[in-house]
Every structure is written in C-alpha cells, then in structure tokens.
Amino acid sequence: MTNRYVYGIVESGADLEFETDAVGGANEVYTVSHRRYQAVVSDIDTTDPEETDEDAKRHDEVLREIMERTNGHSIIPMQFGMAFESNRALKNVIRGARPAFRRAIRDIEGRIELGLKLVTEEDADVDREAIEETVADALESLAAQSVENDHFSDRLVLNRSYLVEEDERETFDDAVAELEDHPDLEDVMVQYTGPFAPYSFVDVKIGAQR
C-alpha cells in the first residue's frame, strides 16, 4: 500500500488524521503536506482504482467527514480515482498547481454544494419556463453561484447545483420548502440533495507535458 489515494486539497493547519472506511479497503485517512497545502489521503495499492459504487460512496463520505472536521473550511474535492504513485509525485503536483488551488479555495471557502432536481410525470404538460423562473426567483439570490447540470431525461425540468454559504444553509432549506408549496410546482417532484463538497464549482484539470 505505497500509493496515495487523494480525496481533496485543504489549506494547511487542519488536524485531519482519523480512522474511517476509506477507498480501497484502507481504514486510515491522513494528510501529505507541501507548504501551505495539504492533500487528504489514504493508502492504496494501485494508481488506477476501480470505480465501484461502494468506493465512490466512500470517497464522498470521507469528503463529508473532512468537511465536518474542518468546520466550514473548504476542501477542494478531487474526482474519484486520483491515486498517486508516491508522496513525491503528489507533492510535485501540489507545488505545481498552487495558483489553481489558491483560486479554487477562494471560490468555495465556507461554502457547500446543494442539488435540486425537478422531475415531471411521464407526458405531463408543465410550463417549464414558468417553473424555471419561479425557482430562479426563489433561490438564485441565496446562492453565491449556481450551475445547470445535464438534462439526461425529458422528464427533468431542472437539474441545478447551488454553491451556498454554510451559514445560509437553513435559509436555503426554507426557500426550497416554500418552493415545494408553490402552485407552479404542483405537478413536479422535488429532489433536494446534499450538502456535498463543492464538486461542481471547481473545474481544474492538471496534466503533465511530455
């Protein structure tokens, strides 16, 4: 188990060493630091972990646990599967991508991601534009940012992620509750999910030039 599976990047200073069910069967999470950034990792024996539902869930659960432990300080979440060959390779990436991490943290600091999906019955006739407008009026002003996700089904009227201040969570919850009672949304099903690490609000890709 000499490879390192990385969950995300935090600014140094947080005490993040704990036992948990980690990806790939490991049971301890700890950090590897390079100057002002720490990667939160667990040991793994591959650089190409298999995508299983179970490990994907663990990845997310470890990130949630980190969010609780850092008490609102943000973790920049990695996509599933970011396993490094060695601490050296990992530190090299932390060093090289510092400016990108700094900007990402500035965007998401103290904020969480919440998801909202509105789904209609099959063949239901709903006024999509009116619904979109009603939802935007209710929620956009409460979010620092929002982004529309894929509409993989015709029944999806809305599939949106919101970046919300941790402190505004309850206000946002209340606004969603009110939305559910809105006459425009009578014929749609509301799926309100999260809180997630702000996956949808970091868009950084790091490659190596060969």
């Binding site: 650089t47 999260g194 790091i206 490659g207």
Partner: protein, 95 residues
C-alpha cells in the same frame, strides 16, 4: 403556520455518482506517476469572480503567472475564462 423543515437528502447514490465520477479536480495519470523533470499543465475552465476587486486581484495574479510561465516556471495557463457575476454576494467573502 409552521412549514415542516426541509432537509436535503444526502443518501442518494445517483447524486453522489453524478458528482464523484464526473466533477472535481482531475489529474492526469502521467502527473500522478512521474516525478523527474515533468512540466505540469494546469487548465482552469471556469474562474468564478465575485467582485471587481477580486477580478483585479485575479488579473494581477494571472499576469504574474504568465510571466512565470514565460520565464520557464512550472505553471502554465492554457485557457482562462473570467466570468463576472455581479449578482454574487456577499462580495467580501472572497477577499
């Protein structure tokens, strides 16, 4: 009339998979295994800007970065799209 409190659901596997497998930072396998002499290439497809102040700060950072790149430093910045979002608040949060 108290409306029942609405809590987001954190247990949906589909929602987790949508995010974990598709979003978040991606690091190329070569950057994850190589050590000696590799040059990293960082691509930020979207930078969120909360205020004019922050924007100016970004512009300054980017200028520094580009200079560093021209001087042969590690970072390279291939694509940068700055989105101004005046509706974002509170502005001080990003300082």
């Amino acid at each position: 009339m108290a409306s029942p409190q609405r809590r987001p659901d954190s247990s949906s596997l589909a929602e987790v998979l949508d995010r974990v497998l598709d979003k978040g930072i991606v690091i190329d396998i070569w950057a994850r295994i190589s050590v000696v002499g590799i040059e990293l290439l960082t691509i930020e497809a979207r930078v969120v800007v909360a205020s004019v102040d922050t924007f100016l700060h970004y512009a300054e950072e980017i200028a520094k970065l580009e200079k560093a790149t021209a001087d042969g430093d590690l970072e390279d910045l291939e694509e940068l799209e700055v989105e101004q979002r005046p509706e974002s608040s509170p502005q001080s949060a990003s300082q």
